[in-house]
Symmetry: C2
Subunit: 284 residues, 2 copies
């Protein structure tokens, strides 16, 4: 007879992204679940998903989720990647036998709570926008949404220009274009959803650029809130059962490539050093 499974008292939450932008989601999860175990995988060998096809993204994301479940014993899965959430949530749910949460639905739900006018703007990567997943999720909640791809924002964040005049100018250009489209359609948007895990690092610049009174919704925060509720985690029980009341969250980070870059830049997203990152080969 094998040892009784101890995992029920300390579930591992798998968090997956195509890169390390999803560390903003992990940061939000850590703030809410300080005593949980986390295994984060960045599929950095195959990023960015944002410019790839649905078929390719579904395959990459499923393989990544399978790694976290079968090799890291994740019992819950958070897809901390808007593109994969938009294009591959069904595929991932079919690929792994654990509950899966994406970032799109929580983002749309938070927009529903925030918006008075019912008109919402969404900025995201090309692939997320082309999927119209946010528009669909908003529409299902009685919101009208206009989405805009902002492909320069991720490279600007990765260049470290998160407080740079060029970035402020690019944000203004994108937002002006988006507001013009909204006005032309007779909309009165009062809420902007940040539909990419890199964008929280631009939140200060974005909040300066939006019209007065417009709410900015961070889908990373929204997803972390939703994870706590959906997975119904026994938060209070963790510490006592593990006998480690003062313990820090257990965090293991994996990447399919560029471990150095992950370790070097990841801290900007996580808000603290990511520690050593293990290289894994998913065979693609």
């Amino acid at each position: 007879m094998t040892e009784p499974n101890q995992l029920s008292s300390s579930p591992t939450i798998g968090v997956f992204d195509s890169g390390f932008g999803g560390l903003t989601v992990l940061r939000a999860l850590l703030a809410r679940l300080p005593q949980a175990r986390f295994a984060f995988l960045g599929d950095t060998a195959r990023l960015p998903y944002g410019s790839k096809s649905r078929r390719t993204i579904a395959r990459y994301a499923s393989e990544s989720a399978q790694f976290l479940v079968s090799q890291q014993s994740a019992q819950y899965m958070v897809i901390a990647c808007n593109t994969a959430s938009a294009l591959a949530l069904d595929a991932i749910e079919s690929a792994v036998p654990v509950p899966v949460l994406g970032v799109i639905e929580p983002g749309a739900a938070a927009a529903r709570s925030a918006s008075q006018t019912g008109d919402v703007l969404v900025i995201a990567t090309d692939a997320t926008v082309q999927s119209h997943a946010y528009a669909a999720a908003c529409q299902a909640r009685g919101l009208r949404a206009i989405e805009k791809a902002c492909p320069l924002l991720v490279p600007l964040v990765e260049e470290g220009w998160t407080d740079h005049p060029v970035t402020a100018q690019v944000i203004r250009i994108y937002l002006d274009e988006l507001l013009q489209v909204a006005a032309a359609q007779g909309m009165n948007p009062d809420t902007l959803v940040l539909g990419c895990t890199h964008y929280p690092l631009l939140r200060p610049l974005i909040e300066k650029a939006v019209p007065a009174g417009m709410q900015v919704i961070d889908s990373a925060d929204a997803a972390a809130d939703a994870a706590v509720h959906l997975f119904n985690l026994p938060l209070a029980g963790f510490a006592e059962e593990m006998g480690t009341a003062a313990s820090k969250p257990e965090l293991r980070c994996f990447a399919t490539d560029s471990v150095d870059k992950f370790e070097r830049l990841g801290g900007r997203f996580l808000g603290r050093p990511v520690g050593p990152v293990q290289l894994v080969d998913l065979g693609g």
Copy 2:
């Protein structure tokens, strides 16, 4: 007994890039070899190579070259990708039994011809710069070179902002930083090498931004010139042997993903429509 091999009278030149930026090299080749056959592969499912490790780039590039040689009968191979040329030329040469030409050596040779002072600037992707392949190739020719990664330029080109004030500003910032480093080292650079196949589309803005008298070297042009000489192609004989004196170059384009994007944006780089692009699966 099988049919005699006809390929000797009409060699196929394989041209490979991680994306479709290498179409600027193909464009330069087409201008010089108007009656040759070309097979171009963009490994778009796995781009960008610029942020990946040497190991991963070598594997991806070798698989891509093998496709062009074994499945498209390429007898010559041009690596129209600075990152792959910098990090994987040896691996590609080991992987395929045909002559292989990268873009780094021709770019450095053109800089040697152009420079009076012997001091050269190189702008490129992160991975190309980190490899220091241009610096080494320049040094072997008695040049001093300083390299700078300009990771925002590719996304700016792909956003279509090739004549945009933001792009002009980003170019000025990058060049100013580079010129300051050169000055601090007591150098007197008179030549700038565009070490990325996307950059020829920014040539007008770059030429406005460089100091008066600085030569701008396009590694795409340099590589096409080198290919004609290195491969010693029987240019004059093509038309007669094929009985198609007035024929256009034969061009087949392949991509591992995002065929639509390739067809839509590729024309900007090739200078004419790319035509239908075939999707291929390299299994990764």
